[in-house]
């Protein structure tokens, strides 16, 4: 791995689902560069292709055109074990992403077993400590945990194999706002402590603005604008769609909302 290579790089990414008239061109020429240790946000509404981009990087979608490089290396169609250790993912729904009949202990041990890493008690205990879960949770089942606690387990599961890149797909949108704040603080702290690279997908500009330094706004499969988070904060985007998203996030104002109906 060369030191100068960005951690994640995408060039002219295209993803198509289906064929012919029923085909969907879900991602259209997305390009992005995420330096090591950075946090990069992808924002868009449903169907904008933001999660598809994440799934391509994770290796969950293997039919795509374009170039993907992680830490300067182009992964093969069948990703190597080491790739999956370096790139981990946290999903939106903490109710759907944990095995309902596995204990927290087993959930966290599974990636360790896959990657043939030691599975000693100390390691599991440390994994729980790091995400702020009491050790008494270790032998509980997901249904005995709250949504926020489950998302902490999902984060512990992703981090226990010591990845370099963490792909976060709407990690807090199923949570209450007070729990969201705790998880966002946890994600910020873990990145700092472990020098992680984040790719965060969200529909929430404020969440992305909190975690990331750079933000790409997606619409209909393409990036319409890439901007530093400061420009988001100053509310000075260049693309009208970004402006529209910023206004929409500020609550209901008839003057903003009424014209939208006319165009619907």
């Amino acid at each position: 791995m060369s030191a100068a290579a960005p951690m994640v790089e995408l060039r002219d990414l295209h993803v198509r689902f289906g064929r012919g008239a029923d085909g969907v061109h879900a991602v259209r020429g997305v390009e992005l560069t995420v330096p090591a240790g950075a946090a990069y946000g992808l924002v868009g509404e449903s169907g904008s292709g933001k999660s598809t981009v994440l799934r391509v990087i994770a290796g969950l979608i293997d039919r795509f055109e374009g170039r993907l490089a992680v830490a300067g290396e182009v992964p093969g169609r069948r990703r190597a074990l080491a790739f999956h250790r370096a790139v981990q993912m946290v999903f939106q729904d903490p109710y759907g992403s944990l095995h309902p009949r596995h204990t927290v202990d087993r959930i966290i041990k599974e990636p360790l077993a896959i990657h043939r890493l030691p599975r000693d008690d100390a390691r599991i205990a440390r994994a729980l400590d790091e995400v702020g879960l009491d050790r008494s949770f270790r032998f509980r089942f997901p249904h005995q945990l709250s949504g926020g606690q489950r998302q902490r387990v999902a984060i512990a599961r992703a981090l226990v194999v010591e990845p370099e890149v963490v792909l976060l797909d709407e990690p807090t949108s199923a949570l209450d706002v007070s729990i969201q704040a705790e998880v966002l603080n946890l994600l910020t702290r873990l990145r700092r402590e472990r020098d992680l690279t984040y790719l965060l997908v969200s529909h929430d500009l404020a969440v992305v603005g909190h975690i990331c330094e750079e933000v790409a706004i997606m619409r209909e499969g393409a990036i319409v604008e890439t901007l530093a988070v400061e420009r988001l904060r100053e509310r000075t985007p260049t693309h009208p769609y970004t402006r529209q998203l910023l206004e929409a996030a500020a609550g209901y104002h008839p003057a903003v909302a009424r014209p939208l109906v006319a165009t619907a």
């Binding site: 509404e45 007070s178 966002l184 603080n185 910020t188 603005g209 909190h210 500020a250």
Partner: protein, 278 residues
Amino acid sequence: MSPPLLDVADLHVTFATPKGPVEAVRGVSFALGRERLGIVGESGSGKSQTGRAILGVVDPRATVRAQRLAFDGIDLRGADPRTLRRLRGARMSMILQDPKYSLNPVMPVGRQIAEAYRVHRRAGKREARVRTLEMLEAVHIRDPERVWRAYAHELSGGMGQRVMIAMMMIAEPDLIIADEPTSALDVTVSLQVLAVLDEMVTRRGTGLVFISHDLNLVASFCDRVLIMYAGRVVETLAAAALHRAEHPYTRGLLNCLPRVDRRLDPLPTLTRDPAWAR
């Protein structure tokens, strides 16, 4: 003086569970005129159960008890099913979060809206059809004829929610209870749906109870906001005075939201005081 549209005093909703009774709503009181009232709280705060108790659509395992629970002077406590059926749909109705689950999947949506009108207004088929098409137009659906024939799964989320609003408003009710009506929608679509709801409610002077987890959204849409915590109302505020909220829970909710315009690191979190739930 005419009675308020809705008069709720000391409302309790209790669920019988194997581990003993659980009180989801514990002594909620409020009165509603022809205004927009927001009820805000996190999961489990009892906000949805409050809305359901008013309409009499709580889970059969739950019991509802109140000192007063009256709609337009009509006592809803222990009202017989016939009275409730006459009120529900015709004079008070409910918009739920996800149109995919609240619309009938095997009946074209036009027929569903027309059916609502025929049942509650005792109208004929032809009149119901005309009114339905007018209503679809009123919720800004561009091609009402096409949507009339469409099934729920053929509509986008925003379109489906506008169909729901059309169906709930066609009988011209006096009270609408909207439970997270836009939470499943994208922000811009959500604004479109709110603009439609705004227009309909304003035009007809309908009373609205808007239940949501989104404090800022509710404050921007409603006149008044109740903040619920652990089954109780901890604070009532004029929507415009939201930033002057005093209760530590309300303040905590406002503070823990990340903001686009400035970054606080770490984000303030909410320290729950057992006394709030007292």
